[in-house]
């Protein structure tokens, strides 16, 4: 079943242009120039239960704005959203019980309270049973190691510790659907892995639908089954990681060492990039092939003693994708 359905989602912000300088400031005061900025422009997609979707795009693409509409914080200018059958901005209270949200740069915890007190306040707000609350808290502690610092006041926590508390806070009421806007911001590699494990657990074991934004490609690699790319507010890719690679990251190299050293090397469909004695580097030729297929073609023709595959890493693929989109819109 679809947990989230967004159709033609659009958000236009109206701001007042501030002209530079003192005179400009006065002009803005007397005759304010209103400018419209379309941050999200006709975005449609859906997310199933137990699916993790990574919402990616360059800075200012409209990811956070999209998440704010999906969580009911912002009212869409046009288009529709349904989250667990509810229109979030029309029924914020009921919506709040089915979703959890973390905005990594902002905390929902109370600055002067120890993390555990903050979580207890949220327990009261959501009306979580005492027994259930204890159970969830110990589960979160096992996965995120919260007890090391949950008696510390939020203001004294490090960024990574605080965001872990925020993750626990967002899930304390067992929401079916979770929105995470840059949840791993400022975390070290060990904690990042811990959080990824936590998220995987939430998706695979608990069957939650998760929408995640991040700029960390390792995370995307490890977590995302499905990727939605947006740029300038428009969706331009919705598919799996493999599809993304084949569309924007076709540049791979297969380095092989041949058992003998033939003078001529040729494989139909592949391009020979370098040929140096027994060492040969192949790249994709005419009908762009996958590395998988390339290997088959090479092995059919030559006996090889060693082999390495060099694929573009995801960062390159992503750069390619973002730039590609720039050209299309230009």
């Amino acid at each position: 079943m679809d947990a989230i359905i967004a159709r033609d989602l659009t958000k236009t912000f109206h701001t007042i242009a501030r002209r530079p300088g003192f005179v400009g400031g006065l002009k803005s005061l007397v005759a304010p120039a209103r400018i419209a900025k379309t941050a999200v422009d006709g975005v449609s997609f859906s997310v199933r239960e137990g699916e993790l979707l990574a919402l990616l795009g360059p800075n200012g693409a409209g990811k956070s704005t999209t998440i704010k509409m999906l969580t009911g914080i912002l009212v869409p200018t046009s288009g529709s959203v349904h989250v667990a059958g509810i229109e979030p901005h029309r029924d914020r209270e009921r919506n709040a019980r089915t979703i959890g949200a973390v905005f990594g740069q902002r905390t929902q915890l109370w600055w002067d309270l120890p993390a555990r007190d903050s979580l207890a306040i949220l327990r009261d707000i959501f009306g979580v049973e005492a027994e259930e609350y204890r159970r969830r808290l110990s589960e979160f502690d096992d996965l995120l190691g919260l007890s090391e610092f949950w008696d510390t006041r939020i203001r004294h926590l490090s960024l990574g510790q605080r965001v872990r508390c925020d993750l626990a806070a967002a899930l304390i009421h067992d929401p079916k659907i979770v929105f995470l806007d840059e949840p791993t911001i400022g975390m070290d590699v060990v904690v990042k892995e811990q959080v990824r494990e936590f998220l995987r657990h939430q998706v695979e074991r608990r069957g939650r639908a998760v929408v995640l934004t991040t700029h960390d490609m390792t995370e995307v690699n490890r977590l995302a089954e499905r990727i939605v790319l947006i740029n300038h507010g428009r969706l331009f890719f919705d598919g799996s990681l493999t599809e993304l690679r084949s569309r924007f990251g076709a540049t791979w190299q297969v380095h092989v060492t041949l058992a003998d050293a033939p003078a001529e090397v040729a494989v139909p469909g592949l391009r020979v990039l370098r040929h140096d004695g027994p060492r040969v580097a192949f790249g994709p030729g005419e009908g762009a092939t996958t590395t998988h297929e390339a290997l088959r073609l090479i092995i059919e023709r030559y006996a090889i003693s060693d082999l390495t595959i060099e694929e573009n890493d995801l960062e390159d693929v992503m750069r390619e994708a973002y730039l590609h989109r720039e050209q299309v819109t230009a």
Binding site: A101, R106, Q108, D112, L113, D124
Partner: protein, 266 residues
């Protein structure tokens, strides 16, 4: 709204208990303020028995109670990064919209918690001042009853005024200037700076048509017997009217605010 959600009221007191230094600070500040106010008013009255129709002990009681009553206005939460202005500027206000308690109620429950916490201070402070003779007991039993009701209504008016100014942030994304003006008007027109009878007549007339007087001066005047118990029904009725008017206004503002909420980028 569920009973458990009322427990949210404990946020501010919990934060205070977590930092004993703050509690000591409040106690010292309050003691110093009361002491100075008593000295000031006693010396002002050193030559005369009554001034502006107010006897010495009445004036001192009024001034001390005004200092104490400021406590129930609620603590300044800016050190805890917990004012409406800060939540809107930092964007943390967005979490208010993803909880099963409407922002309007959440704000109310927090304010009730803060004011009850302040009220505990007032009770303790009042008991000490009464024992030390810095304040006199209420003018009469009737005055005490009228004072209690009037003080409750005064709190409601105060709450609505502060809320209205806070809500302005949703549109302007700042309210520093408005808050400063409100605080000044509140202190001047409600009698914190000096009992209103020391001001010229036009000033009294002006303050009678504004809500500020009804947040402090009216209950205190009933307490010291400057306003007769017979006047209480009229004064309470005006207070009630302000409560209703301001409640209507803030309700409207909340409804609009929920529609315009724009959270800064990020």
């Amino acid at each position: 709204m569920s009973v458990a959600q009322w427990r949210v009221a404990r946020v501010t007191p919990l934060g205070e208990f977590a930092q004993p230094a703050r509690i000591t600070g409040t106690a010292v500040r309050l003691a110093a303020q009361v002491f100075l106010v008593v000295c000031l008013w006693r010396s002002l009255y050193s030559q005369v028995e009554t001034s502006a129709g107010l006897a010495r002990e009445q004036a001192v009681t009024y001034a001390v109670l005004a200092v104490l009553a400021l406590q129930i206005r609620g603590l300044d939460r800016s050190a805890s990064r917990d004012t409406m202005l800060q939540h809107i500027q930092e964007g943390t206000v967005l979490y208010w919209f993803v909880r099963p308690i409407p922002p309007r109620r959440y704000y109310l429950v927090r304010a009730v918690g803060d004011q009850l916490y302040g009220f505990a201070w007032v009770i303790v402070g009042y008991a000490i001042c009464l024992a030390a003779g810095a304040v006199k007991p209420p003018a009469s039993g009737g005055a005490a009853a009228a004072f209690a009701v009037s003080l409750l209504l005064a709190q409601i008016i105060m709450y609505q005024l502060l809320l209205a100014v806070d809500l302005v942030c949703f549109w302007t994304l700042q309210n520093n200037a408005a808050l400063t003006i409100l605080r000044f008007l509140q202190n001047l027109l409600s009698g914190v700076i000096a009992p209103l009878w020391f001001f010229p007549d036009w000033f009294l007339t002006m303050s009678s048509v504004l809500p500020f007087r009804y947040t402090l001066d009216v209950p205190l005047s009933l307490y010291i017997g400057r306003s007769a118990v017979g006047e209480a029904p009229r004064l309470l009725a005006i207070q009630l009217l302000w409560c209703v008017l301001l409640a209507g206004l803030t309700r409207l503002m909340w409804r609009k605010a929920a529609g315009v909420v724009t959270v800064q980028g990020g």
